[in-house]
Symmetry: C2
């Protein structure tokens, strides 16, 4: 029996009016997606589907990028219709469908450049990964004009894949080196009702990591390769989140989806366990995950260095949000929303410039021109990458932001975050219209105004970071769960106390010893050198003080910086090692939201700064 889950409103049902997410979403529609479309054409990704006439470069991951952009286009069209964009949507679908082989197979790289490699390198060639993204794009666009053709094509493709892989006679065992198809197949099952797709998703999850491994055993470092691909053990036996971070959270998302549909509570519990492994021991304070650029992977508990080796890939943070969203909607546990919100406002948004068309692949927590030999070169967002998974992830992630704000169930409406927005939701059969106003996440005063009437229970999230809160319904104090027959004009006022918090980290994170991070509400702050009177490395923040909030030039309207008192440590500048006492000069410092760093030119930056007791 299916596990109940909360419903996720379509992204287009929420119109942001806040000063953080609304402009990011707008930039996505006007800059991120158009740039990605242009890059897709330029790089031959669109033409690559033309097996006859295109003779340019093909890469094994091309289709995933095209599919992710297409998925973003589908959401964009639902948010704001655009005839030119619809043409592109339809043109791409036409090309993709034309690339499909008679047996249903659909991959521009393999069919165009390496037909002999079909299903030969499941570990590396991303065929099932690309298939998953095509399916997600098809599901996203199924109701748009022309979308049905892609849905039909991916169903044929999925049918074909199902005819190839499985434990039944006549099929071969196999599973993807890069997970994604599992969650995509559950999406396809949900829109088609075809249980074959759910069974195939289950098969991919349950066969994964069993012996013998389906990947080529002659690979250099075969065991390591299995770990990177979460294939070292059956997924139900894996005790911690490991391997490539993006793959891991995609896998766990697929596990959650399968668990939901099959009622497999054991699988859901395993998924929750793996999530806890991440958020309790393997996650940066920003929600970034994957602490090494080797294989873009998790390493071990508390190995969370801030510079050189760290990774915290933008795609992984987005994947973590998607996983957290699934787990909240399946369990109702708000702990998942803590991670979801942290990741969105910090580790995800840091990955994209305010211009909407430059990106970080890795989201470092410390950049210094001296001590960051490897990452200082990567300390400026780039328009594109040879493997542009991050830019294309933003194309499809940002338009889905609206789907994280609310969850619903018949008779119940959950508010998960408080960015100002106008929403038109379905609570069971009841259409609900409401508005959230305020300046969240910069201000804890939130006002929810009902714009439709009806009976349901409103569940308000009080974030874990908030230690003091009050809620009023039409002026009367109430609890965070409010049942009632709502009337137009009912006002819920929420006050979330939002002081600047001085965060320490577990002592096992040795790079953070003696260092603090500043946080306010869900926002992690960072010191950018261009805001300071001296190098960031010389600054020691005074721990016990009243921090001030202030506006700051050059960052978006509404942004609040934190300023406060610090000491500048003065030591001999020319010697390498010395026995000398430091001088301390009283100075002020200024910290900006981490997600906004690097938008005003190249600069050193540090999240975990030293403190002066």
């Amino acid at each position: 029996m299916k596990i109940n889950r909360l419903d996720i409103p379509g992204a287009s049902t929420v119109k942001f009016t806040d000063k953080v997410l609304a402009p990011r979403l707008e930039k996505c529609l006007t800059s991120t997606i158009p740039s990605a479309v242009e890059k897709a054409y330029e790089s031959g990704r669109v033409d690559a589907f033309d097996l006859k006439n295109y003779h340019g470069k093909r890469e094994y991951f091309y289709d995933s990028d095209t599919a992710k952009i297409l998925e973003g286009i589908a959401y964009a069209l639902q948010i704001r219709f655009d005839a030119d964009l619809l043409k592109i949507f339809q043109e791409w679908i036409g090309k993709i469908v034309a690339c499909q082989q008679p047996d249903g197979y659909l991959n521009s790289y393999i069919s165009g450049a390496a037909p002999e490699d079909r299903w030969k390198h499941l570990n590396n060639l991303h065929e099932l990964y690309c298939a998953g993204h095509l399916i997600e794009a098809a599901v996203a666009g199924k109701d748009l004009p022309g979308g049905e053709a892609l849905l039909a094509a991916v169903c044929r493709y999925a049918d074909y894949i199902d005819s190839v892989f499985g434990l039944e006679a006549g099929k071969r065992r196999g599973w993807p080196g890069h997970e994604e198809i599992e969650l995509a197949l559950v999406k396809l099952y949900r829109v088609t009702g075809n249980e074959r797709y759910l069974r195939l998703a289950s098969y991919f999850i349950d066969d994964r990591g069993t012996e013998p491994c389906v990947f080529p055993a002659d690979e250099w470092n075969f065991e390591g390769m299995k770990i990177v691909r979460q294939s070292d053990k059956p997924v139900r036996e894996q005790s911690d989140a490991h391997g490539h971070a993006v793959r891991a959270v995609y896998l766990y998302s697929g596990m959650a989806d399968v668990a939901c549909e099959t009622g497999d509570t054991e699988l859901l519990e395993q998924c929750e366990k793996l999530f806890r492994s991440i958020c309790n021991k393997r996650m940066y304070i920003t929600g970034g995950i994957g602490s090494t650029f080797y294989y873009e992977a998790f390493t071990r508990d508390y190995d969370l260095s801030n510079g050189a080796l760290m990774y915290a890939e933008s795609c992984a943070a987005m994947g973590l949000v998607q996983l957290a969203s699934r787990l909240f909607n399946l369990t109702g546990k708000t702990e998942y929303l803590e991670v979801l919100e942290t990741a969105i406002y910090n580790g995800v948004l840091s990955g994209i410039g305010l211009n909407g068309n430059t990106f970080f692949y890795s989201n470092y927590l410390e950049v210094d021109e001296n001590s960051s030999f490897y990452n200082f070169g990567a300390a400026e967002r780039q328009p594109w990458f040879s493997c542009p998974c991050c830019p294309t992830s933003f194309s499809r992630f940002l338009p889905q932001l609206g789907s994280f704000v609310y969850s619903t169930a018949p008779g119940n409406l959950y508010v998960n975050m408080y960015p100002a927005n106008q929403a038109e939701l379905q609570v069971g059969d009841l259409p609900v219209k409401l508005e959230i106003s305020g300046h969240y996440p910069y201000d804890g005063n939130i006002r929810i105004t009902m714009q439709s009437a009806g009976e349901f229970t409103l569940h308000l999230r009080i974030p874990q970071w908030c230690k003091k809160s009050s809620i009023k319904l039409n002026g009367r104090e109430v609890q965070r769960v409010i049942s009632g027959n709502w009337q137009i004009g009912d006002v819920v006022e929420i006050v979330l106390d939002m002081p600047v918090e001085v965060m320490l980290s577990n002592q096992k994170i040795t790079g953070n010893l003696g260092r603090i991070a500043l946080k306010r509400g869900p926002l992690v702050y960072a010191l950018e050198e261009l805001d300071q009177i001296c190098p960031v490395r010389e600054i020691m923040i005074r721990r016990d003080q009243k921090f001030e909030l202030k506006k700051i030039d050059g960052l978006p309207d509404g942004t609040l910086a934190i300023s406060g008192k610090a000491y500048r440590e003065i030591l001999p500048a020319d010697e390498l090692y010395f026995n000398a006492a430091a001088d301390y000069e009283k100075i002020s410092f200024c910290a900006v939201p981490y997600a906004l760093w690097g938008n005003r030119g190249k600069s050193n930056m540090c999240v975990w700064n030293r403190y002066y007791k």
Copy 2:
């Protein structure tokens, strides 16, 4: 005109009686060299010279290892004769000589496994590097029975190399991807007087880095490869020490040698400049160099992280000692001796276990089972490596330790370090016998007793780390330069004040911010977790205190540990990030000499520890 240089006494003229170097040298003779000999046989390195009958594995670096062990054997035989070892010496020479091709070429890998590759991959195949080590072995063993055959063979080989490389008509341009042959050719010139070898060394140095580059241009990352091999610019135009650290210091040593013999003061100045680039900005406090394991290379100024990425290869520290020794003997500037002594007592000796047959490749300054994902596996010394350059370097380095203690010139005797020893030296034509006693480097009270008579000037080094010293000759205060007609029984007493010093580092080394290292005399200390009552990471050393010295179990007789007062910082153990005040518990800590860490089982270790103001 040649640049004057101080003479270096042969290593066998100094018999250590101290408690640090003497046992290390003894272990080298009884363990390091015998183990290396065994490994050389086991791995086929000896048989590899038999081109006809040996069909096992060959590697392009095999001959360098065999040659380095052979060089060590030659020194060992001079220190303490051993008939069995002499047999090995002669057997190996027989095999090496038999491998020589009719034209003089001599390389077991190329001749045995890849004759078509001769001189084809100067960047990678180490032919000139192996040749250099064969030459060094031949020079070391030239006066031993059977040694003349190897000397003749390497002369023929060098003649052949000289016929191949150069700017003259009929020759080709070329230089080694791994420097070493330059310094070896100067050694060969010095023992043969054949100027051809000096000219060839000069050629290799001066053509290096000119255009067009002699390495294959189709190599991936050609520019990076040139930098790693110090071939990005002519060596006289290079402004900082860069690329592979071992190669760099071998190159600079060769430059110093050529400068000396050719009187090229400009080249010597360039060499000094590159040395300052190292010791002022790119060297660990232990004398370790090469701060990244990527290409075992230098990175940039002040990029000196202590964990994961750092390298500080044992071979590089030994190479730095050899370079510092050359520069001191050429310039008489004692600043070079500071680095020489620091590197020997810390970054070199840390690389070899007290058992004499286990080795670190990388000498980390911090090892933590949580935050050191990459190096914790490497936190135990290993008996051998697939590329065993470090073990074989110890085989030849430790028997040369005696050559660093004194330098001489007619009428002048320089004492560079003060380990207890018995020495029989030549000061110009005057044989000088003397004894140093005391417990240096654990004690600053040193006594030099003359055991022969004669007139010369004694130059005593007062180390930079010593801020207060006194010198007495037969009870009368004297200066550090003492001219006189020495009599048997004359006693010089030196007192070097040797307090525990609290060292800070330049703020640009961001990983060391808020951290101190303890040093006493030339010894850097480290906290090993097994000596503490809590994890090293929780310890904050009190800065202003009287540190105590104490004996310690499990380490060699004479070892002095440092104990002192510290605070243990107590924070929540289970949370990842939190806003909480720390508790502080008063504790004691214990630090041991860095070079001795890791000899009592696996443990976390840290050189740069936090302090509590």
